[in-house]
Subunit: 597 residues, 2 copies
């Protein structure tokens, strides 16, 4: 029932027609790779997801990671799957070739990540965190640290963990209290406790490399006094193999709503003589390094929203095609499969059109990130960077919130069976629910969008995006068919709503940021919905530009048109409502006494 | 952390100012009761909820009901709590005095149910199902059956269970296959398996009375061939005490997303010589009886959405008032409690205004049900009945969907802690998620609303409601203050959106029901949102009509105004968007081949 089929057809469509795969393969960094080779890699990665990872998703949820005496035991099958993941070379796909990585474009790694997270978000979090740690080290660690640790982390033999949060320092990392004391040998001794550490301890790798935020003795208070340290679980012996156990211990793991197979650890550093740590980069710049990397982590979270939505959709559609219940509303005496019921179709198409919009969004941002890195033209690099910066909080916030909505719809399609854990639909909601929280809550993303991304450049980047999106309207107007009328009207209204909201925020924020920020999340959703609508409109244009060359292509085109129109009618329509909320007056809300809530 | 305070102040406000408590106490059935006595009963019922039930909510979730060899063991504390519930006479509050009930107005029992479900929805389901069974028997059972069973069921000594669903017969009860064979002594022998039976087996009562849908040998196929049988767990011996064990057995209980303390049972009837059953009412009229009772069950489900939302709000607000994290956006160097952050306030006020709207909705429908039953004027009875009939699917569908939304927001307010089960916020989402499914999914409610409630009388009842709601607009226009401007504008637009949608459906349904039903759930949400907005507008008018007589009253009035305006700006604004969806063209969606989903 809850197997997984990699959505290679839609991925390929988005890569080729919306995200510019061919252009990316012509950029200097990837010159010589051809689209077909990359598509073959995606096919292999999808196979790994479907065959090795997907079957572990539900057993991993039931069994969960288990803590005993400071050690964590992964559910059955996870060790072997991770070994296969490393053996097949998947771990280093995004990493620099210098340390053994494949340095693939984000366009490709993003599509791979979608599939691995669809198969098992709990599993995929391990390489995701490792990749984040690798990126942080690549950016700022000394050559010596890189040489010692990166090859093993890139291969996946060792994994990385990001140790940021403390019980009093969650969204606000400035409140970090973990201490780092200089040692005579140039290393440091780390003392403190970190909470919510994803894969802080597990039994899949020979060593775990913790990147820990901590304060040096002379550190100024607040955000500018936090440094980053590398603290391995096992110190590295001569020859580069794991040696003595470091003073790092997993005190417990959390009992969580979802991602049960992924250990979320409370980690103690220095309960004895201090955990040996090495400074990464310069003192007091830890938060800065962390934020560089955080942007990538936020894109990964958004991809998780997409990924779980895709899997929830597949399972719901399969169930609706086989479950017989009720009679057809327009008559007939026999029972029908529930996919015949208009509301079941509505739910499925809502799940599907949102998922397709998220995928188009993910790969568009990924392609821009590739251009920002590798385009030969500096102006194009800057434009792409500014697009990625603007879109990162929108993509993270909107796709994770939407992932929750889609997973909940998936339960609903199953009716009573959806509430039974055995069915598997409920797990997707439990799993995806964390994505709107970690790597910065939706509120944090929205504050970043309004307070930084929009205000910093006085709305320049978002106005550029609005212009880009507007440019699709004449094309839509030129097409025949009621689908294009619906899409054009809804997108036009959506763009106008977004435009008004932007002007309103630009005017209101300087006078009172609190007033503007009370509408920040509705504004983020508005931006996400309109961006999705723009991409779905482009998808509709793309499938109807030339006559399809096969029956399969004709089917794909027809379904995509339905999906794009449905998105316009059921999702884009929300844009004017959200704009009204953004523009409403929150004075009473902000003035209400805390005690009266 | 997750304790519960009965929201008596808001309940009292709604009872007195929106639902017409005084008028209800003057109706013949309740003449002589005074509002103060009823309020004292609510206060006692709230105390029971807070002191006896609320502490069991989280331990009951962790422990869960346990099945062993056909028997079900309730979590620690549930047996004692149930005994206290029976001892204190709460079980019979809604039942007829003839069999020992208190026959209280629905206005009061609905408020009590809100509080018990807030405290523990898993516990409250047991008396809720029992009340449903009592009602079915009161309506249609023979005097002999009533005399034998009702006194014990009304006291709560025995509990009732509703055995409808079979694995192939969920939403579509016409597909029921359980058989009833006539026996020479005038009783029947029942054979079949029922699934998803709430409290089908448990250890809190001396006997369990199953109302079972089954087919007689001569039954016509489909909906008109289903009869209702009473099947006790223990046959009743001379003297009215439980005697021999009947051939009824609990085969297993489900592992569910939530309401873990509530056993959801698979029940086998007649695995041996047949379960002894007694026909309730006339043959072949079982579904009809069931549907009479189902309307009440649907109101209970809607109240559960409200109830869980209230509890989730209380916990989130308490957390936001004490959790320190981040600095204030307008400056200051120290950390603040998160309730200072605009987006946290937005989330809390969204939770709260939705909850208040649901409560006003619940008690307004309850009062109408009381009038429909007891008003001396036949026209008023008919008007009230038509209002209740129209509102039942809206209330059930909208309040349960909204309950899920509010519980999810409650997790979000907690940040990372919300995803940890120990916090308790996640349980509310897990528990409330079933309410959009059982007693008819949201899709079923929406089909009932559009296909029956709107079409049956050609829109007469909803047009009457629209007129009633319109009548509040001039009052709003006459009030000073920006709150009233916002409320008036949003409500005016909402009413227009609803009006357009109704006219559209009336025109479209006869031509093609499928086209109309593709927009049925958006229409249901639209109706719920506008009804909630109308009631919040009336609440705003009520608190600002006279100068408050105390500081507490002034505080309540100020907060209610904020909440009503917030609802207008953040919820009612969605109405025009939903209308656009209702009116959109679903032809492509309906035509898409099943295989292409």
């Amino acid at each position: 029932m809850n197997l997984y089929t990699p959505p290679l057809r839609d991925i390929q469509f988005v890569l080729r027609h919306l995200a510019g795969l061919e252009e990316i393969t012509r950029l200097p960094s990837w010159d010589g790779t051809d689209p077909e080779t990359l598509e073959a890699i995606l096919s292999e990665g999808g196979k790994f997801a479907a065959e090795i990872l997907a079957p572990l998703n539900s057993s991993g949820d039931r069994e969960g990671a288990v803590w005993r005496d400071g050690e964590v035991w992964m559910p059955a099958g996870f060790r072997d799957a991770y070994a296969a993941f490393v053996r097949d070379g998947w771990n280093g796909i995004a990493c620099e070739p210098e340390y053994g990585g494949h340095g693939m474009p984000k366009l490709v790694t993003t599509a791979l990540r979608e599939m691995w997270n669809s198969a098992s978000i709990a599993f995929a979090l391990c390489p995701a965190l490792n990749t984040g740690a690798i990126e942080a080290m690549s950016l700022c660690a000394s050559t010596e640290l890189k040489h010692t640790f990166l090859p093993k982390m890139v291969s996946g033999e060792w994994t990385g963990a990001m140790c940021l949060t403390e019980s009093q320092a969650g969204s606000d990392l400035a409140a970090v209290r973990t201490r780092a004391e200089p040692h005579t040998d140039g290393s440091y001794r780390i003392f403190g406790q970190k909470v919510f550490i994803t894969y802080g301890e597990h039994d899949m790798a020979a060593n775990i490399v913790h990147l820990v935020l901590a304060r040096l003795p002379d550190a100024p208070p607040g955000t500018k006094g936090i440094s980053m340290f590398l603290v391995p679980k096992f110190l590295v012996a001569a020859g580069g193999t794991p040696g003595a156990r470091n003073d790092v211990r997993c005190d417990s793991i959390e009992r969580k709503l979802g991602i049960h197979a992924c250990p979320t650890c409370t980690m103690s550093f220095g309960s004895g003589s201090g955990a040996v740590g090495y400074l990464v980069g310069e003192p007091h710049r830890g938060l800065e390094y962390m934020f560089i990397m955080m942007n990538d982590a936020r894109l990964v979270s958004g991809v998780q929203g997409l990924a779980v939505a895709e899997r929830a959709y597949q399972q719901a559609a399969a169930y609706a095609r086989q479950r017989v219940q009720g009679r057809d509303v327009v008559g007939g005496t026999g029972s029908v499969r529930i996919i015949a019921h208009p509301d079941v179709r509505r739910m499925l198409m809502l799940m599907r059109s949102l998922t397709e919009a998220m995928r188009a969004f993910a790969l568009t941002v990924a392609a821009a990130a590739d251009r920002a890195l590798a385009h030969p033209d500096a102006a194009e690099r800057a434009r792409s960077r500014s697009f990625v910066d603007l879109m990162t909080p929108v993509f993270k916030g909107w796709c994770t919130e939407t992932g929750v909505e889609v997973a909940s719809l998936g339960i609903q399609v199953h009716g009573g069976a959806g509430f039974i854990e055995e069915t598997g639909a409920a797990q997707y909601l439990r799993d995806v629910r964390v994505t709107t929280i970690y790597e910065g809550t939706t509120g944090i993303q929205a504050n970043d969008l309004v307070g930084r991304k929009i205000m910093r450049d006085d709305g320049a980047a978002i106005r550029q995006l609005l212009d880009l999106m507007q440019s699709v309207l004449p094309e839509l107007a030129a097409r025949a068919g009621h689908e294009f009328v619906a899409i054009r009207n809804a997108l036009g209204d959506g763009l106008q709503a977004l435009d008004h909201s932007v002007e309103h925020l630009l005017e209101r924020y300087p006078a009172d940021p609190r007033v503007a920020l009370a509408g920040a999340v509705p504004f983020l959703k508005l931006t996400g919905i309109v961006t999705g609508g723009w991409l779905m409109a482009r998808a509709a244009l793309a499938v109807s530009t030339a006559a399809p060359r096969s029956d399969a292509a004709a089917t794909f085109a027809a379904a995509k048109l339905v999906s794009a129109q449905f998105y316009a009618d059921h999702v884009l329509t929300l844009a004017p409502a959200l704009a009204r909320t953004v523009i409403s007056d929150p004075t009473g809300l902000l003035a209400l006494d805390e005690a009266h809530f």
